[in-house]
Structures are given as C-alpha cells and as structure tokens.
Amino acid sequence: MALRFDREAGQGLRLISLTLAYVLVMLAAPLLMVITFSFWTQDYLTIDTTLTLNNYREAWGTPIYQVLMWRSLKISLIVTVVTVLLAFPIAYYLSFHVTRRKALWLFLITVPFWTSYLLRVFLWKVILGYNGVLNSALLGLGFIDAPLTFILYNLNAVVITLAHAWAPFAILPIFVALEKIDRSLLEAATDLGDSPLRRFFRITLPLAMPGIVAATLIVLIPTVGDFITPRLVGGTDGLMISNMIQIQFGKANNAPLGAALAVSSMVVIGLISVGIFLVGKKLGGRVR
C-alpha cells in the first residue's frame, strides 16, 4: 500500500510539475520581485538597491495616497455588498423556482460578461450620461423634469458599472451553494413548525454561506485592482488606488513607489478577505 501511494504521489507530482514550474516562474517570482522592489528607490532611470522603508512611509503617510486607499476600500466594499445582495435573489430564484432550462438561464447570465469589458464600461457612460439613455427615457416618460446628474462621474456610476461587470461571478457561487442544500431539510423544518422566514434564516442562509463568502471574495479582491471603470465613469471623486499604481508605473516613472502601493493594497485586502472568510465560516456552513 505504501509503495502504491508513493508511486501515485510521484506520478501526480510529475504530471503537475510543468504547470507548477510555470506558475513559480511567472507568478511567484514576479510577486517576490515586486515586494523586493518596493524596498528599493528609483532616481529617474537608476535603481538604488539599498533597502529602505521610504516608499512605505510615503505610501502610508501622504494624504493623497491615504485618501485613495480609503476610497478604494470603501468603493470595493460597497460594490461587493451591492453586487452580492442583487445577485442572491437571482441565484435563489434559479435554484428553488426554475425547474426547467436552468442551464439556459445560467448561460444567459454569463453572455453579457463576454462583451468587451472596455465597451461595457463605455456603454454605461452612454446610459448614465447627462443626455444619456436613462435620462432621455425618464424625461420622455415625464418622470423627471431635468436630467439626473448624480448618476455619472461619481461613486454611484462606479458602483453600478462594477455591479454589472461582476454579476455572473457573484451569482454562480451562490447558486452552486444553494443547489447543494438538501431539500428534505427544508421540508423537515416546515413539518416541525418553522415559518418560511424562520426556515430561511435557520437553514437556507447558513447553508448558502460558503457560496456567499466565495462570491464576496471573488468580487471584492479584483475590484480593488480595477482602474478602467474609475477612469471612464468615476470622474475625479471616483479615482481609486489602482489608478495611482498605474500612474506610478507609467507617467510618474516611480516603479518602487508603485510597487509599495500595490503591496500595501494587497496586504490590506488580504487581511480583510481573511476576516470575511473567518466570519463566514463562523456564521454558516451548518443548520442553526
């Protein structure tokens, strides 16, 4: 038995070694390099490799970076909460009420996601703009007297656009978790006298929690790194930390500071993610 296991282990490791090597060279090594880089300094074109914390002092101490970091976190968290809240009823509907053609529904949900990302963001600008689709429609129908201005070039626009962009990523994990719920548990709860609402909070929600946590993390982490949406629809109040990272690596030509900003935002978002994961584990996964 031991021999068989060893042979199997060897075969498995050999099979995965090429993929692992690729990820080590193209992901692990670059990530370590960025971390090292963030402790160096750059003076125009020359890199000074003396280790220093100056980049982090600047990243954490300068008001503009503090503002951008807070705003990024705030926007990402709002986007995540909105996206997951909007997605949950859809996942619930698909899992509990749609009996035929589930796969078709799932497919239809993913189709908009395959429109060019840049164009989707741009089209939201067209929809939400001063003379945009939404305003002309509302004006035409007589619901409003003057175009709404609070929907473009600010936080709201970023939230709407990102909630749209990440919708399938939020719906699918929740749907999978809901599908796994043993329906006889729900019948048992009803038989034992639970009201539908009580049943929902005692069984459905806790058992859906792993999916909700997965959806939350899948939306939250990449959102912090988005710099297209803030740039196109966010206006000046919607700029995020990634825009600054991009500027440091581009125009400002201060890669070490950009690296420090990138590492800082990843550490912060990593800690928040671990927190969400632990809270989700505590709250869910079993019938209450």
Binding site: I16, M26, L27, P30, P112, T115, L118, L172
Partner: protein, 271 residues
C-alpha cells in the same frame, strides 16, 4: 416570506436581466446608427461603420496580433491546465492543496497586480516587451479556467476504463489515444475556446505588457479617446460579441455533451 415568493422573484429576475443586457443591446443599436454621436434618438440605419472596419489597416494589424496571442494562449494554457487537472483529479500527492491553490491564485488576484509584477520582472531581466510577454501573462490567468473546465472532464473519467485498456494489452500511448483522449476531447475543445475568448477580451495585462504591437482591446482603448471613431468601435464591439457568443455556445454544447456522456449533472459540472 411574500418577498421570496415565486411571482416576485420572477419579476425581479426579469428586471435584473434587463440590467444585465442594457449595455449589450445598445451596442448593435449604435453600431447601425448613422449619427456619429452616441446618444438617442437614433437617426437612421447604416452599415457604413462595418464597411469602414474593412478598410482600417491598424485594426487588421491589431486583430492579427490578438489572434496570435489568443491562439497561443489557448494552446499553452489548455496544455498546462490538462496536466494540472489530470494530476489533481487522478492522483493524491503531498502538498496538493497548496500547489493547486497557487496555480488557481490568478483567478482572484487583481489583474493589475499580475501585470505590474510581470512588468517589474521583465524590466529587471532586461527583456523587451512583445506579444510573447502578453502571452506569458494571459497563460497565467487562463490556466485556472482551463483547469476548472478540464477537472470536470477528468473527474468524470472512469478509471476502470483505462485499467481495462491496460489489461487488454494497450500501451500507455494507445490507452491515451483510444480511451482517455476521446472521453476528454469535448472538455479540451471547450477549454481552448474559453481561454481564447478570455485572451481576446483581456485588456489590463495586454496594456501593461505589450510593446509596440497592440492587441484588439488596446486598440479599442486608443480609439475611445476620439469621439469620431466611436461608431466604428461600436461596430467592432458588435462583431466581437457575436464571435464570442458563437464560440461560447459551441464550448457549452461540447461541455454538456461530454458531461452527459460521463453521466455528470450538467448544470453543475465545471462550476
């Protein structure tokens, strides 16, 4: 529990689908609109923007670049994904969770972090940026998708079929060709199509890692700055959407057929 009743949820689902499809429906509307201003009311029907694309050389170059990057990425990430999916579906080995976790990591890492990390490394090594560096980044983000698709193919693969083939005297290669490959082939094609589509639409990594050769999304980004170019961009976007949807329908059909052949629940396979 009125708010979770079937009727209200159905209404909500319809509203939500309108929200999801709003930008998608606008795309062809403006692509066929005569006005250069992207706003309502529509002024008239025209196909001139589509015809114009035919004569735009910079677009054709970008398209060629994207095809190269997309095809290369699809082949490499499906190959790497197949090794990893096979290993994780079939074998137990030490450090499996950690290794698979690391390979799947790009799925949750923000693309800007991957792009910036690769850029720093390439600069330090003094390697020039080119379409190959874009491929390098794209393979990284596409491999997890390939693994997700191929894992369900390999997991549904009945181990005894391969053992039977060995017992009947087939060689390792013969077994692979005659038993394993036909069973996982739909998954492989599905993975090729999905990874190609992801690469075709990827902007952030391409934006950071490309040299003078631009890919299609980078080209679109450069065009978005010029209001006069917007209708052609809409036309281009419409074509891209059609191509993506056709590829996805094929991929989905193949994936389901392979799942059905192996008796796996079709709605959940691959998620």
């Amino acid at each position: 529990m009125k708010w979770l009743s079937s009727k209200w949820l159905a209404v909500y689902a319809v509203v939500y689908m309108i929200f999801l499809y709003a930008p998608v429906i606008l795309l062809p509307l403006f692509a066929f609109n005569t006005s250069t201003i992207i706003a309502f009311p529509l002024s008239g029907f025209t196909t001139e923007w589509f015809v114009g694309l035919w004569y735009t050389d910079t677009l054709h170059i970008a398209l060629g670049n994207s095809m190269f990057v997309g095809v290369t990425t699809a082949l490499l990430s499906t190959l790497l994904g197949a090794f990893a999916a096979r290993a994780s579906a079939r074998f137990a080995f030490p450090g499996k969770t950690g290794i698979v976790g690391l390979i799947m990591l790009p799925l949750v890492l923000p693309e800007i972090i991957i792009a910036v990390a690769l850029l720093v490394m390439l600069n330090q090594l003094g390697m020039p940026l080119s379409l190959w560096t874009v491929v390098g980044g794209h393979v990284l983000i596409c491999t997890p998708f390939a693994i997700a698709i191929l894992s369900s193919s390999y997991r549904g693969l009945d181990r005894e079929l391969e053992e039977a083939s060995f017992d009947l005297g087939e060689s390792r290669w013969g077994t692979f060709r005659r038993v394993t490959l036909p069973l996982v082939l739909p998954g492989v094609i599905s993975s090729l199509l999905i990874t190609f589509t992801i690469s075709l639409d990827e902007f952030i990594i391409a934006f950071f890692l490309t040299g003078t050769d631009v890919t299609l999304p980078v080209y679109i980004w450069s065009q978005l700055r010029f209001p006069a170019k917007l209708p052609s961009v809409m036309a281009l976007g419409t074509i891209l959407l059609l191509v993506s949807v056709v590829l996805l329908i094929i991929a989905e059909a193949l994936r389901r057929r392979s799942a059905a052949r192996q008796g796996v629940d079709t709605t959940l396979a691959g998620l």
